[in-house]
């Protein structure tokens, strides 16, 4: 059964309950100037056990950590948001673009894999066409794929639903 947000965060060691709603986090947030992300509200919603798992704003955080650095109570706000996001993904919420990023790593071992233009660019710079990464070592890519199976990540991504 899904844990309620306040219990989840408490169990993970995030002291969201000590938040005094001063708003320093929200005032410091670069994303909040352009999006509806309001970190103070997310903290409040989580401690009141509102359904933050389906809150679109969770995905507007650039993880710049400015709120966390400035929080006068030392609350690990960004780490908490990442934990809430992960619970959200485990409940089947995943944006289509993020599913694609996950699939690229499952397939190629890279979130941004090589393409023809950059194979040519590498050669033009006098470099090998493929870098010394999983791109050049198929056995290493097999290892990555095995680990992804071992953690059940492939199934998690397969089962995560797509939001509009």
């Amino acid at each position: 059964m899904t844990k309620e947000p306040a219990n989840l965060l408490e169990d993970e060691g995030f002291s969201f309950l000590t938040c005094m709603q001063c708003g320093t986090c929200t005032g410091s947030c670069p994303s909040g100037r352009y999006t509806s992300l309001n970190t103070r509200r997310i903290v409040l919603s989580a401690r009141r056990n509102k359904d933050v798992y389906h809150d679109d704003d969770l995905w507007m955080c650039t993880t710049c950590y400015q709120c966390q650095e400035r929080c006068p109570r030392g609350i690990k706000i960004v780490d908490g948001i990442l934990t809430l996001r992960a619970e959200s993904v485990h409940l089947g919420v995943m944006l289509p673009a993020h599913r694609k990023v996950a699939e690229l790593v499952m397939d190629k071992g890279h979130a941004v894999p090589i393409n023809d233009a950059n194979r040519a660019n590498r050669k033009a710079l006098g470099m090998d066409e493929l870098p010394e990464t999983v791109h050049k070592y198929p056995q290493a890519l097999d290892h990555v794929k095995k680990l992804i199976k071992a953690t059940g990540f492939d199934k998690l991504i397969e089962e995560a639903g797509e939001q509009e």
Binding site: T62, C64, H98, A102, H110, V144
Partner: protein, 294 residues
């Protein structure tokens, strides 16, 4: 100084290979004992993969670290995201034996074991702490007469609890390294602001992420800089290709060339801008290339 293995990540080798080449040039010129980290994968990207499943994020990060442990080298990253991912994962694993047990159970599937014997470094803090500004300055043979907007990027310095790099509000260590090349680090409004790309925002909410970059670029342009210097290929992509996207979507044109610090340092060591891939950037400015070449 412990030998290092070079962790390339995804964007550098696959989108901006000039940064990879420049990094290898400057490491050689500075006499650093480095080697390729063969068979490494995506770090995996901290903002997205940690958001999907923490155990998978830790397992894949641990595999990359173990590759370096097997070479008895520290991991050297050239990207803030890779640094954030690998150093945060390494820190968690070094401080939680039960977590190591869990991750090692996964790694056993590929006959690997995490032991916590390697540290994760970022090239900028490595240059600052292990090489030193003085030695960098000595290695500069072609001092650059340019004005630069320095972009630290978020994950180089934050979260600060494990970074040991001083203040996150007004850091100066990267400015000192920049000025060692002869360039002037120009102050601009909201210098420490995020580029807007991280946390999966660029991939899922492109327009919003570009609005954040646009604000940053506007402040840089207002300061009258010749170029932007960064230490993160994701910020690099956002600020370079982002200028093309911003022109297309919002109609603002900045035309400010973007360089990773490794590229700038290689040029200050006498290598041509073309040899470190500056002409492969989206934003190309002949006037600036001439300035560097001259």
């Amino acid at each position: 100084m412990k030998p290092v293995s070079l962790f390339l990540g995804c964007i550098i080798p696959n989108r901006y290979p000039g940064i990879e080449k420049a990094t290898k040039i400057v490491l050689d010129e500075l006499g650093v004992d480095w080697a390729d980290l063969k068979g490494a994968s995506c770090c995996p990207a901290p903002g997205v993969f940690r958001s999907f499943d923490k155990v998978t994020w830790l397992t894949l990060a641990a595999r990359n670290i173990v590759l370096s442990e097997q070479m008895n080298r520290d991991v050297l990253t050239i990207c803030n995201g890779c640094f954030g991912s690998l150093s945060d994962a390494n820190h968690e694993l070094k401080n939680d034996h039960s977590l190591v047990k869990k991750i090692n159970k996964n790694l056993a599937e590929v006959n690997m074991e995490y032991s916590g014997t390697s540290d994760v470094r970022h090239i900028i803090e490595f240059f600052y702490k292990d090489i030193g500004v003085g030695k960098i300055k000595e290695a500069v043979t072609h001092p650059l007469d340019i004005k630069a907007a320095l972009h630290y990027g978020c994950h180089l310095i934050k979260p600060s609890r494990e970074r040991d790099l001083g203040t996150v509000e007004n850091p100066v260590f990267f400015d000192e390294l920049l000025e060692a090349t002869g360039a002037k680090s120009v102050e601009y409004e909201d210098k420490m602001a995020c580029c807007g790309a991280g946390g999966g925002v660029r991939s899922a909410l492109l327009d919003k992420s570009l609005e954040m970059s646009n604000a940053k670029l506007l402040h840089m342009a207002q300061a009258g800089v010749d170029c932007i210097i960064n230490a993160c290929p994701f910020c690099h992509l956002q600020l370079d290709f982002g200028q093309v996207e911003i022109k297309d979507k919002f109609g603002h044109e900045y035309n400010i060339p973007v360089l990773h610090y490794s590229q700038l340092l290689a040029i200050a060591m006498g290598h041509s801008p073309e040899s470190v891939g500056l002409d492969l950037n989206f934003i190309k400015k002949e006037e600036f290339m001439d300035k560097l070449g001259g």
